[in-house]
Amino acid sequence: MKYNQKVLNYLLIIIALWTMIIGSSYLWNISQEKVYINSLAKKDAIANFNKDQAFRFWATEHGGVYVKKDKKTPANPNLSHIPERDVVTPSGKVLTLMNPAYMIRQMMDDFPNEYGVKGRIVSDKYLWKPNAPDAWEANAIQEFKRGSKEKFEFTIKNNKSYLRLMRPMMIEKKCLKCHAIQGYKEGDVRGGVGVMVLMTPYLEEFNKVRLRLLVTHAIIYATGLLLILLGGRSFNRYLIRLEEEQAKVQASHVELELKVQERTHALREANKQLQELDQLKSMFVASMSHELRTPLNSIIGFTGIMLQGMSGPLNEKQTDHLQRVKSAGQHLLSLVSDVIDISKIEAGRAEANSELFSLRELIYEAKEEVSVVATPKELTIEIEMDKDIQMETDKRRVYQCLLNYLSNAIKFTDKSGTIRVKVEEYDSKVKISVIDQGIGIDKEEQSKLFEAFERLETHLRVKPSGTGLGLYLTRKIAEDLLEGGVWMSSEVGVGSIFGLTIPKKIVDIKYKKKG
């Protein structure tokens, strides 16, 4: 099974921790056991020591003990200075005095097994050769002379481990009986009394305990290790599954992202193509329209000449028919002009030509122009304007909008009504409203008004003679060239208000006249 690197790392850390815990527990237990074993050995040593001491004190208190003198127990040559070292009983038995050291030595030699732990007496002024101190003992005696009360040591002798204990032996009054000859006084350190406890049984016990500890710790360690490994394995499996699922999600995410990018790209391309096509269309329309204008100009021009009688007199019918030719031509021409304007604006090739002019003059000019059609219908055009406003924008385009609103108002108003042109000034903007008392427009139709070719002819009682592009063109001019907007409100049977709100001055640099 493949392992996740993170899981592997954690696993290794946990295993290391587990090993450390179990290992230190084992070591701690062993060290405790060792302390315990040593303390047992020490107790043993102290017990034996005390037993020797008791025996020694008993013998000393009696000033030694007389025993039968024989081969096994000869007279102690070191006591030769003592009178009555050897005495004869009235029955003739020979007795000799045994001092404590002599007694204990003989007891230990004769019954080593029963006696158990061997005691030892050493002195720097030994009288009997085996009582000579070794290096450790000599050192201990020196320390006793400096006031030390006890010395312990673990040592190895003849490949066997021992614990040895030594305490000082002080000269007391009763000791002087025998030892005064060596020059001791009361309170001097005579030497050391010690015991050596063989450590082998203790060590055997210790080894047993150690083995037991090892086994139990090994079992616990192995069990823990197994659990850790099993846990790690299942966690790893879980993690790998999780990662696989994440990868799947990631992959589908990426796929989705790619798809979105692809589609977006396709859409963008399509959009670009559409824009190009749209521009191409607008350019096509513009150039086609121009080609259409030239013959139209001829038609209108020559009809005009004939109508004026410049090329000879006309009868009534001829005049009427030529009048129809001329007005049809003019309608066609205005249609073509509107199309050119719209396509130029839509293609982004139209620009505003900003110039300074008086708004009042422009409005009066427009009024004058439409009076040709307004007068026969007995319509009055009123202009409501508090004071003149100086404009700095595209004069011809504003005029175009005004003319369009006015001719619409005239077209859709019955005889002898009033059309009002109202001008209001708001900071940097002007609001021009053309208010009529015409037939009005249905609420439902109103929203479509400013769209191209939205002529509401089916709902109108009057057959309109417009191009169907007028309001759309007005909106395009207002929004795209004059940086303003159009609006309207109307009520059927009451009349309509068409409005134009534009800045007095064109700000955007792209609309500004070159040079």
Partner: protein, 125 residues
């Protein structure tokens, strides 16, 4: 009576404008393209010129520039005929040294008056 040079490539327009001018008593000279327009302007020294902007060889701006560049042509009044749809051209022509303009389509009833206006202004300068 004045001599007018009309530079116009469209036959119908040429007939229309020359008919109107002749009817009103002017003498007309005709050039059907830009180069011959420049040549006739300089050689014939007309009283004024009516100049169409869209021409087949060199356009009206170029014609204007060449006439104005010559010593013989710099004082001749020139009236441009501009198309309504090419509104930007009007300003360009005036800036380039044109004395006035007539917007197409020409209105037979008004065109003579428009021309008089321009010529009057030009003579005052």
């Amino acid at each position: 009576m004045a001599r007018v040079l009309i530079v116009e490539d469209n036959d119908n327009n040429m007939e229309l404008i020359s008919f109107i001018l002749e009817t009103s008593g002017e003498e007309t000279l005709q050039a059907m393209n830009g180069l011959s327009g420049v040549e006739k302007a300089l050689s014939e020294q007309p009283d004024y010129i009516i100049l169409d902007i869209q021409l087949p060889d060199i356009d009206g701006f170029e014609v204007l520039k060449r006439i104005r560049a010559a010593k013989e042509g710099k004082d001749i009044p020139i009236i441009a005929m501009t198309s309504y749809a090419m509104s930007g051209d009007k300003e360009k022509m005036l800036n380039a040294g044109c004395n006035g303009y007539i917007e197409k389509p020409i209105d037979p009833e008004r065109v003579i008056a428009q021309i008089r206006d321009v010529l009057e202004k030009a003579s005052k300068q």
